[in-house]
Amino acid sequence: MIKVSGLHKSFGTQHVLQGVDMEIQTGEAAIIVGRSGGGKSVLLKHITGLIQPDQGQVFINGVDISHLEERELLKIRRDMAVMFQGAALFDSMSVGENVGFYLQREGKMTSGEIEKKVAETLELVDLNGMQHKWPSDLSGGMKKRVGLARAIIHNPSIVFYDEPTAGLDPVVSDSIDHLIRRICDIRQVTTVVITHDMRTVRTVGEKVYMLVNGKIYLTATPDELFASQDPVVYKFVNGISDSEDVLS
């Protein structure tokens, strides 16, 4: 279970998170939505322990990770995986080396076993036989799939996705959404997706958390989100800007 309690974070005079409280149950597919620059990625970085809060706590399976040292965090992160917005592939390594990185560093498998596991994981993300390609040879969608394969190769129980469909065309976005859903179903993992793409909310989500002004404004199911008549939620879901409001 992931629990966030009273989380505050400021960068200079910019107060990005102003008391975030939320709970994500084990095995749940949670979507965190909010406007661009609203602090979604900052919240994700707190949950994964990549940055520390000014105030508040983050609990992963009951352990408060908000002020742990990096080496203690590494132990907690063994059970987690993150797919980054820009995929964050290691550009000096081939696709196969990227995907097999965790297992290679762990040193528990032979190179033959790692190769087999890499091939299986690439097959899961529909990239069969791409081991020898380089990240620079891949399209945006393929990079995200490789990033996903690299993240899930060690069978983590929690997978985080930071804007998985950002910058992709609708068809590729749809395939990524279905892939996330498929992995969620096959591996029974807790899934946390940061997005402002409403198609992702429909395809992947079981529960939606809406972040507004640095706080969780709404916790609902996707159906409740889309049916909401709350002006803030309605405008966000339907993509209505304040300028349209003024014009009308």
Binding site: K45, T48, L50, E70, R71, L73, L74, R77, R78, M80, A81, V82, F84, Q85, G86, A88, L89, F90, D91, F101, Y102, R105, E106, R150, A151, H154
Partner: protein
């Protein structure tokens, strides 16, 4: 300033901790020794050769006025071993290796590759910093020896075959006046310079600001800080080692 010192101290402690308890691999250090040491050899040897040549020529022009020709190679040898060899080799490595480290780690930082490492059960210091610092401190003394050897033999060739210095007396004077402590001074300096260059490059890369400008600044800062640091550290080490050795 205070934050910078705190970061430097923190990274230094992390490197020491990683050396003792970290999950670093010998293969990572060997790979870095190839990148840093083997691939810097040509640059360092060319530097050593021309430094030896010009030092021999200048020394000969002055000593010849007083009939001290056969002491030329001794001056070249002592200067190359204890001062010019280590300092000039280190300055070349700072430009080639230190800048590359800062650029590589800086790019990894701004493209979230270092965050990705942290989520893949890998401490950046174990995987990125320690192998580079260890490889540079191991490779640098060897590079210094190469620069010194090429500089001395370059100077000898110039002195004997082009300037007509007597080879027997020159060789005897050179061997008599160059002591093991001169070479040891150079090797020890190389060890410290290697640590300084790699630590500066890694620190600047890991803590660089976002964007291409941040990476550019980190690269420039690494070369400037390393170069000035080498000259200052060289002075301190000369005084300290002259007492110890």
């Amino acid at each position: 300033m205070l934050l910078g010192l705190k970061q430097v101290w923190g990274l230094l402690l992390e490197v020491v901790y990683a050396l003792v308890h970290g999950s670093w691999k010998v293969s990572d250090i060997v790979a870095q020794i190839y990148q840093i040491g083997v691939r810097s050899q040509s640059v360092v040897m060319v530097t050593g050769a021309f430094t030896g040549l010009v030092l021999t020529a200048q020394t000969y022009f002055q000593f010849h006025k007083f009939g001290m020709d056969t002491l030329t190679l001794a001056v070249n040898s002592v200067a190359m071993c204890s001062e010019l060899g280590p300092v000039l080799a280190a300055l070349m490595v700072a430009g080639r290796v230190g800048a590359a480290m800062a650029a590589e780690l800086g790019t990894m930082r701004v493209s979230e590759q270092i965050d990705a490492l942290r989520t893949l059960n890998t401490h950046p210091v174990d995987y990125l910093v320690l192998p580079r610092v260890a490889a540079t401190t191991i490779a640098m003394p060897v590079l210094v020896c190469e620069a010194v050897a090429v500089g001395i033999f370059g100077g000898y060739a110039l002195g004997v075959y082009a300037l007509g210095i007597d080879p027997i007396y020159s060789w005897a004077n050179m061997v008599n006046m160059t002591h093991v402590k001169d070479l040891m001074t150079g090797i020890i300096k190389g060890f410290f310079f290697g640590g300084l260059i790699s630590f500066t490059g890694c620190y600047k890369g890991l803590f660089c600001k976002n964007g291409a400008q941040g990476v550019g600044e980190a690269t420039t800062d690494t070369v400037v800080i390393s170069s000035i640091g080498i000259l200052m550290l060289n002075f301190c080490l000369t005084l300290i080692l002259s007492k110890i050795l």
